[in-house]
Each structure stands twice: as C-alpha cells, then as structure tokens.
Symmetry: D2
Subunit: 374 residues, 4 copies
C-alpha cells in the first residue's frame, strides 16, 4: 500500500504545508494528467509497451490574455523546456505548462498550439503567435519512447480535465514511465504556507507556494530522505538485475506562488529549488537535465491595455527569505512524494523499476531519528 511521505509520520522542513500539500494550494492553479499504460513484453517501436503520458499545469485562466509573471533556473541544461527562452526574456507565462516524454515534446507542443488557437480565436490574427512551454523527461527505459504514443487528444484531455485540490502522484501523466535514484517515481508535489519575515524578525503577509516535479534523476547510492542516506542503506538489498544502470535522468520542477514577485525574484526562487533537488541526493549528473520554471499569480499583465504603464505590487527582496527556505524543503518533499506514491512498474523489454519500500523507509528514518510530523 503506497502513501505520501507525511502519511508515514514524518516531515521535511519547518514550514507548514497547505491544505492539499500540492501545487494546487496556490489559488487558481490546476493540474491534469493523461496516463498511457498499454502492453507488456519486448519493445516493438510504435506498438509499445507504452508507459508514458502528459501532465498539464495551468496558471489561473485566462492565462493568454492575463499573463502571469514567470522566471526559471537551469541547474543542468541537459534537457528541454520548449519556450523557456521567451519566458526568460519577457518574464511572462502565457500558456499552460505541459510535461511529457522527451521525444514527444514536438507532438505536445503542436497539440498545445492547436488547443490554444481554438481557445483564443484571435491568435495569429490580432494577437501574437503561441510558443508553448513543454518540459520533458526521458522515459525510454520503461516506455516505447521512440514510438511517441502521446497524441493531440491526450494533451487536450490533460488540459481540460485539470483541476484544483488533491493531485494524483507517482506513475501518472508525464511521470508514468519515470525512475528516480533507481526507484519508481514520476510526478510529486508539495506546498508550503509561508509567513514572510525580515532580518529584524518583523513578520509580514503569508503566501502560498507549491512545487510539482516530474522526477527521473539519480542513482540509488546517493538518495537521501530527510537527511538520512536511505539509498546507501537500501542498496545492498537490490541487485543490478532489471534496474536502470545509468544516470541519465532529469527533473523538471514547476514552482508556483501567489506571493507578488518580479520575474527576477521568481528566478531566484527557482535557483533555491535546485538546492532542494540537491538535498535528495542529486549532484546534477552530466546527462540529467534539471530545469526549474516558476510563476507568480499575484500580478497579471493583460495582453490588451489602454495605458502604457502598469502598477506592480512587489514583495521586498529582504522579505523573500521565508519563500526561499520554503521552496527548498517543498521541492525536496515533492520528489520524496513521487517516490513514496509510485508503485512497482514493469515496462518495455521487461525492464523493472521497484517501488521505494515504505516499511523499510519508515524503519530507517525512525532509527536515524528523522523529524516526526508535527
């Protein structure tokens, strides 16, 4: 029986979570998955086995006409988030964020363009063109990745069925065929409710911050959970047979907040998320694309305005430390949730990814006096 990390009785970090402990705790943010699981046995390109999918993260709608501020950080650029160049330049997010299998990025990008041009009829005419945001991890170890089984309708469905509240984790959507530190993983999420403060101990308004990861990085030996070297302890129990043997994963990390941050502040927040990836044991291996994209729902930039200037509310830089601390632990917990929730999976060519053994995990954490849930 799988569970989220906190259901085991432990916690990561100091800052309290939001009600769903998910990126959807940021008001207006919605998540949808299309999960594709089909067939077993040896790989026949174009036939399967299929272990892949699409995940859509939607900023508050209508995001194309009411853009939100955005930023990013590339810890290791050995991967792809299509459309990132424009996000970096303009500091704006104007489409949903889609996640999928590496070699399906083109198809998902094309389907998102089609969906957007239907949703916003003026595109390509009075409005500008669309450059969608599509991130990826390589699921070719379990999935017929070359077969590119994601189709347009899978993208539409992920977008259209996206909702707030609890988010499905583990082997769902773009996480279906993914592995992290040699254990089955996929999608994970977590959130924090952050009280801002300043050096002089003054406190300010509270904000919501959420992280969703598509996680596929690392090797067992370096896996740490709540500071405990769980991977090193468990490794002797796992032979190499049937396990992924190389280090070429990736992680895409999406950060959302309703704190009023400028694009440059959001990028700084994304940089701190990278520290959370590191705490789980990543050393950002050469071939592991580790990319973070973030957005804030607090200020909208309308596509059409009457004036030439606008007013922005901004959290002072020296009041951001609470968010920085929160995003580190929230990212760590999102990854751990993906590991805790995902169950065993056998995929193409009979490749097998074992689930993280939760009983063993709880026993190890207790032995090391890891922090109990408060």
């Amino acid at each position: 029986m799988r569970a989220r990390f906190r259901d085991l009785g432990f916690s990561i970090g100091r800052v309290p979570t939001g009600p769903a402990n998910a990126i959807t705790d940021v008001p207006g943010v919605r998540v949808g998955h299309t999960t594709l699981i089909e067939g077993d046995g040896p790989l026949v390109v174009g036939r399967g086995p299929v272990r892949t999918g699409v995940t859509a993260i939607l900023p508050p709608e209508p995001v194309f006409s009411e853009r939100v501020l955005a930023g990013s950080f590339v810890l290791n650029g050995a991967g792809e988030v299509s459309g990132l160049t424009q996000v970096v330049e303009w500091g704006l997010l104007e489409t949903p964020i889609l996640l999928t299998s590496t070699m399906s990025v083109g198809k998902v990008s094309d389907a998102t363009v089609k969906w957007m041009t239907r949703r916003y009829p003026g595109i390509g005419d009075e409005y500008d063109v669309i450059i969608p945001i599509v991130g990826e991890c390589d699921d070719s170890w379990l999935n017929d990745a070359v077969g590119r089984h994601v189709r347009s309708e899978h993208v539409y469905r992920a977008i259209e069925q996206a909702s707030g509240g609890a988010v499905a984790e583990g082997s769902v959507g773009a996480g279906t065929g993914l592995v992290t530190c040699d254990f089955k993983a996929g999608i994970g999420t977590s959130s924090r409710r952050v009280v801002t403060f300043r050096a002089n101990s003054e406190t300010g308004p509270s904000y919501n911050l959420g992280v969703l990861v598509q996680t596929n990085f690392g090797i067992m030996r370096t896996l740490c959970i709540a500071g405990v070297p769980v991977g090193e302890i468990l490794e002797p129990d796992y032979s190499d047979d049937g396990r992924r043997v190389h280090n070429a994963g990736s992680i895409i990390c999406v950060v959302a907040t309703d704190a009023p941050l400028l694009p440059s502040q959001i990028s700084r927040l994304c940089k701190r998320a990278a520290l959370g990836i590191g705490r789980v044991g990543s050393y950002a291996a050469h071939a592991s694309g580790e990319i973070i994209i973030g957005f804030s729902t607090a200020n909208k930039v309308p596509r059409s305005t009457s004036g030439m200037t606008h007013h922005i509310d901004v959290l002072l830089d020296d009041a951001c430390d609470g968010l920085y601390e929160a995003v580190v632990e929230c990212t760590e917990e999102a990854i751990v949730n993906a590991l805790c929730v995902a169950d065993d999976m056998r995929g193409q060519g009979n490749h097998f990814a074992p689930a993280l053994p939760l009983d063993d995990l709880a026993e190890i954490l207790n032995r090391h006096h890891a922090a109990r849930k408060r």
Copy 2:
C-alpha cells in the same frame, strides 16, 4: 529581375567571400528547403493561403554520432529555438538545425525526431534521446500560420535534399512568408574566407565562416544597407496600405565555421553576429526574437569512444579577431541578400510585401558612395 547584393556591384565589409558566398562554403555544411505556396485571397484557417516552409541546415554527417561543437547568443529571446538549452549546456550540436514558421515548431520537431530515429536506429535504446534544434519566425502576416501547413514529409524533404554549393535565397523554405523592414525577405546567406591574425600583426591559418539567416524583423525607417539609411530614403515612396504595420518580427541566424573553436568561443562569435543584425537597422524590438546559433566543424566529439579524455585543437582567443570582424559583415550581408533576392509577395488576406526596389537601391548607394565590389 532580382539579384544578390554583390551582383549590384557593391560589397559589405573588407573580408573576401567564399566561392558560393554561402554558409555551404564551410566544407560539409548543406542546406535544403521545402517551400509551400498555395492559394490566394482571404484567410481560411486550415485552408490557406499558404506561404511557409522548412529550411534545414546540416552540419557534416553523421552529426548524431560525430557531434560538433556549438554555441549561441540570444540578443532578444522573444522567440524560440527548441533544443537551445542543451546546446548551451553541452556545447554540442547533434541534430540538423531546422527553421520554420513559429506555430509549426512542434510539428517540425516531431518530424525531425522521427527522421533521426530512422536514420540512427539505436536512439532510445543504447543511445540517448533526441532533442532537435528548431528555430522559427512568425509568418502569419502572409501565411495561414494557425493552419500549420508544414507536414512531416516537408521536413524529410528539406533534410534529404540538402546540398552544398549555391543556396536558394529569398522567399524559399522557412523564409517563404517573411518580411524585413517592411520589404519582402526570407532566407539569406553569405560567407567569408578569414585570415586569422594577432595584435602583433602576425597572421595564421585561414578558415571559412558562413552565415544563414531567416529574417523577419524591423521597420522600413531604420533599414540601413552598407551604412546608408536606405529605409528612411525610400519610406516616402511607400504608403501604409497593404504593408505590415507592426514591429514584431524576428531573426534566426545560423553561423558555421571550420575554425577550431571551443563552445565558449562559438558563443562569442554568435554575440558578434548580433552586431551585424544591428548594422542593418535592428534595435532588437521588444517582440522581435533575435537568436543566433553557431557551430564549428573542426572538432568532432564522438558519441562512443574508448578513452575518457580527448584532444581538441583550439584557435587562441587572441587570434579570433579576424573571425569576429568577419561574422559582423557576413551577417549583415546575409540579411541584405535575403532582401535583394526576395520578390514581391501577396499572401493571406491580400496582405502584400513589396520587394526592395533594386534600381532605387543601386542609385541611392551610388549617390552615397557606398563601397563598390572589389
């Protein structure tokens, strides 16, 4: 009758051109176009009129197994070159470079993945995944861009028919529907044969350098050719009727050389190409995505090797100034070639892009004593 710029009797810059005055003067580099022109009259999304296409720039094959060193510079990131993040991180180019219409990037990316996985059967298995390089400009002013008329076979054809030697320019391939400084433009190319030198006047080996642009930026008022404010002089002759009235273009610039440069040196070269864009009159308008990607064919990085280290030949940094000077003028000339070669075009909704009037151009340049071809 259209002509390349030098056919008018003028020249840009001091450094001699290669035999084809094209990016294909770099040995092994090939270019292919698929041009799509169909229909007239009002826009019916999905039906046309169609004024678009695909251009493929191929580094020496087999580029996936014998990667070349690469770099880039983003003058203005209001555009997209899919796959750029990985180029920046690894300093490697391992696929062809494709250019197309903005909203067709997904389709072209997907088709390139398919083409590559057929061409290199081990991909997704023993090899890594593919992240293709796909750049874009927005051709929606003349083309049914929302209709996304580029199909997989158009991509295959551009790649497979790519050849060395003379390169078709103007309204071809990814340049079919493009406009620059309110004149019809599209694809342009130029090359230089560069003698390297150092501050102490010592000269060294010669190298080839070529540039190919997909050009779609700017407004008439700022157009300069060979330093002469041609756009300002011509503007009174053009009424606003039927002309593009906004400034949201883009330019993608591909730089190739056989000089032995490191990725960081190639990125520096790309940065100088931006100065060439500026000399034609660009001020990198907010919505004009101006992105440069470059590669050097001199050092190959094999995908499979027996050793753990390799040897690289590198041109000394203080011997690079000849290349830096050359890339500025070569970029300028490539843009001007696109303008000189492209003929009038009427597109969707009867939008009209006039050709740059070559007789007037020659007369103006003569009057201003612009440099004659030597």
Copy 3:
C-alpha cells in the same frame, strides 16, 4: 578647434536630444571629473608621465538610502566593473558609478568606500556594507598606468564636484588617456527625449534617456560615423608611427533614464546600447572589455521601510521600443562626441594619439550625404 558632433552640422538618428545632449538631461543625474595630466617623455613607473583620472556618475542622492533600479549587459567581459555581480543579482544601484584606469580600480574602490562610510555614518553598523561600482579602461598606452596615480582625494573631488548640465568630454576624467579607433578619445555623452509608442501607433508619455561612455576601443579601419566608413577613408593619411598598434581597448557605457523600467528591462536597454557600439565599428575584439551598466531614476527602493511590499510603476514592455531605438543612436553619438571633442595628446614614452580631423570628417560626411542636423 574641437567641437561636439552636432556642432559640425550633422546628426545621428531620428530621436531629438535633450537640452544638454548629455546624461545629465536625466533629472538628478550628475557627473564629475578629476583629470590628471603631468609630465612628458619616457615612462618612469611611479613618476609618470601621467594621463589619467576619475569620472563619477551620480544617480539622484541619497542613492544609498534610496536605491534606484539597475541592470547591465556584458558585450565582452574582457574588463572590469567591480560590484557588477550585485547589481545583476539585486537590480539595484546604491553607490555612485566611478570610472578610472584599469590598474587604479582598487584604489578608486577603496576611496569610494571611505567616502560612502563618511557620507552615510551607519554603514557597517546598522546598515549593510558597501560594494562600489568601478569601471575601467586601460590607458597604459599614454599613461603611467602601473604607477597608479589616482589617489583618494581625486575620487572625492570627482564625486563632490559632480554637477548637472553640460558635461566635459574628451580627454577628461577617466577618459584622459584613452584612444578609440586610433584617434584620441575619452569621455563622451549624449541624450534623447523619447516619446514612447506601441505597435498600434499609440503614443504615450515621454522620458529622458542619457548615455555616458568611457571609450577606448577599436582600430581606425573599422571606424564608421553616421554609417560612413570614415576610418577606412582616413587611414591612408596616418602612418603607423606613434599610433597605438593593437586592438586591446575597452568601452564602459553608462545608461540613465527616468522611464519607469524594471531591472530586467534596464538590462534589455543595455543590450541595445551594445548595438550602438557596433554601429561605430566595434566588433568587440577579444581583448576589448565592452560593458554596459544602466539605471532608472523613476522608482526608488528605500533601504528602510515599514512595509514588506512596495508598489512599482512599470512601462509596459511593448511600449519600450522607443527607448530601445533611442539608446542605440544615443550610444553611437556619445562615442562620436568623445572622438570629436578630444584633442591630440602626447603621453608616456612619447606615444601620440592624433585627434580626429574635424574638417576632413565634415567633408567626408558631406560627400556621403550624411544626415544633416535638423
């Protein structure tokens, strides 16, 4: 008799200048110089000849307690602007900007710290520490640069005597010993009064934009003025004797505006200034440090506040094109002003830098029908 460029009857670009055609046309911005000229003949390190100085650009005071937003762009990092890392990170300017000789950066930085800690007594106690902004060019061809003749009192004087209105140009302050395209240069400035506009032709509020350069780059052959290849035309008149023979200059460019721009927008503005450097003939030679720093006086960020958030007025990105166009031409004109105003100078070791011959320049520009002053 030396003159500014417009005094010769010509103009650069389309946008009107401010009243002083200087960076000081941005209200509250002040400039001060300390010029050090002493001795003749052969170089005796520590004795002279001295041809150096300090230039101070002051944002509206009190800049340490009321910080202004700032940004930058590095066209070629072969130089130094101390403190730039923090400007990039925080998007804030909190000290004056000082310019000097390369090997005097340390002394000028130290003197600025001393001046600031006297001016703002709480520094190092209740306030933070000071990291001053100090840019440099290498004046060693005319100056005893190793002797580091700039002393603390020279720095204090440049800061304290800074004023608005007309700005001394040419061989003054940090420009005293500098050469550009083999002609004597140094400090130059220019300004523009910019009407903002959008693609749909709507116009908005007007803003002031000013540029000050410390210019020391390039070789005669590539010098262009108003698009005319003046350097190539003049070169046969100059023998190599007594001229600087290498290409290792630099240019530091300071951009100021009262348009309400975010740090990311200011950095984009700085990037466009680089295009202006390119138009004068720079190809950003390997050893030529070409660094742009900018600030906006429109929004202040107080060091001490009661609240945790603040409100910022921001010019919409799609209303920035007027500023982008203006900064290109303003940078070009600032460099040309430095060349026009600076007179012949003989320096250490009898090295000689000739003045740009203004009569010849006017004759050449007329012959090429360069734009007349309007």
Copy 4:
C-alpha cells in the same frame, strides 16, 4: 580543544580525501593567510577591535604567463568577486585569488596589482593590464570593517608565505571575523581523490579535487551536518544575547582540480559546489553572497606563443560525474571543517560568536547514526 571534522570520527560522503584533505592536494596549489587580531571592547572606527585578514590561493606559478583554465557560478550575487567578469569571458585565471573583508576589497585589489607588477615587470608595457580576483565576506559583526585595517604588506605576506600541505583553518586570514549559522567559522578546506567513471561503469584516470571556503552564511536553525539537523537540535541551548541576529552572510568557495576540464566544465563543477553549500543548510538568503570560482591546473595557456592554435586535453563530459559527486561532498566538508576548527571569538562591541560545541556535535551525530569515518 578544536579539531577537523574527520578527527571526530565521522565522514562526509563516499569519495576518499587526499593526503592533506585540503585544496593543496591539487599539485601546485598553495594557500597563505595573514591574520589580524587586535584590541577589544567597543568599536572605534579606524582603531578597532580588529578581527580580519587576507587569504591567498595561488594556482601553480607563474600563473600570469602560464594561465590556467577557470570558471565560476554565482548562486547568489549579493557579494563581490572582483575580476570575475573577465574570468567568465575568457575562462582564464591569470592572478592569485585573494579573499578578504568586504570593504577591504579595494585595498587588496590595489595591493595585488602592485605585487603583480613587481613580480612580472612587463605588465602595462608589453603585457596586458592586471585585473586581480578578490572575493569577500562581511566581517563587520566582529571586526571594525569600516576601518579597513588590511594593508598592502598583509596582502604581500599572504601571497609570499603561501605554501602547500596542511592549510590553517577557522579564524585565520580572510576567515578571522566570520560566522556561519551563528557559530564561529572562517576558512575551511577539504579534498577528494576522484576516480572518473562513465555510465557504463568503465573507470578512467584519477584526479585531485580540492575546495577552500570563506564561510559566513546562515542561521543556526537550518544548520545540517552529514544530513543531521544539528542546528535545530542545538538552538535551544543558545540565547540570542551576543549572537548575530541577521542572515546577511556570504560564502566564497574556491574549487581547484587537476582534471583536464574546459572553462565550461569548470563552471559546471562550480554549479555543483553550490549543492554542497545547500546541504549544510543554506537556502541562499537574499543578502548572502554565494559565489564559487574554480580552476583546473591541467592545461596551461601561455601568454606568449609562437603558434595560433593550441592543443587541449579534455575529460569527456560523460566522465565528469565522479568530479560532480565529489565537489558536492567536498564543499560540504570544507564548510564543516571551518565550523569545527574555529574557536569562540569576542570582537568589536563585545559581539560574541560561540564555537560549534564539538562534544555535543559528536553525541548528536552518533545518536543519529551519522556515517563513521572509514
């Protein structure tokens, strides 16, 4: 009685250390400190109390004529490493690296210029100018920082007395007045002996990698050592009286290796060092300048050469993971060493920084089953 971390019987990470467990395990690398401790009681600016100094890290000499390849990463740019812009642009280190107190950067930079121009008499004449590398942390909580007590002779002494072998740690040199996570800290170092490997388990040559930190960041609550939340456990024992109460520290991290890496690879290595900072508990607080600079001694770039090209040996990117893993744990251990070695210190205004209690630390680590030294 103070000790290094491994002397307590524990270890960090998996990769074995070098003989001195110090940056000097990279052959040719030397370290020197000048420590300034003088006076007690209330602060009198210019008089003291003095708790500051200078640390010099020397690449193999003669570094100015035989430059080494270098790179960097800025985790948080709220600090200064003078000269970093040129390191980033050229990928070369050509001076020693100096560390000191923030407001003494100018003096140390000036003294280094003077030292270099004496050491290499051609500078400013036939050679280029000098831009020294000077990093800083703010020691104003214990030190009369405004008094700027570092003088030229202190810099010369640190450089000239630099040596290989064991490196003094804790409250020495540039670390004299520093605090980390509310405990006394300063200089720390560690090294690794790295066997390179590839994904297919093939192993390659071994290299040395060393890290030296000047550490001054963080708050007690977030301090983790070997994954154990030591700070959270110890915090109740410490009242706020006499402790630093704000979060504005910094850390400068110097990475050295003899692995043959390109500048871009060194920068990637530096990025991974940031993950090591994160593992100790940093979330890169807004005002904490966290900057990493690295160099490789394997390839030299001579200032004067006869040829125009050179040959470089490069470790393949996919053989770098061993170094990436090592630099994370080595950085973590260097910080912990600074904390373990530094003793209690009382400074200006009777400010007090307590030493990390080693007995308690050992007891906590044992209780949490932290990794024992192997």
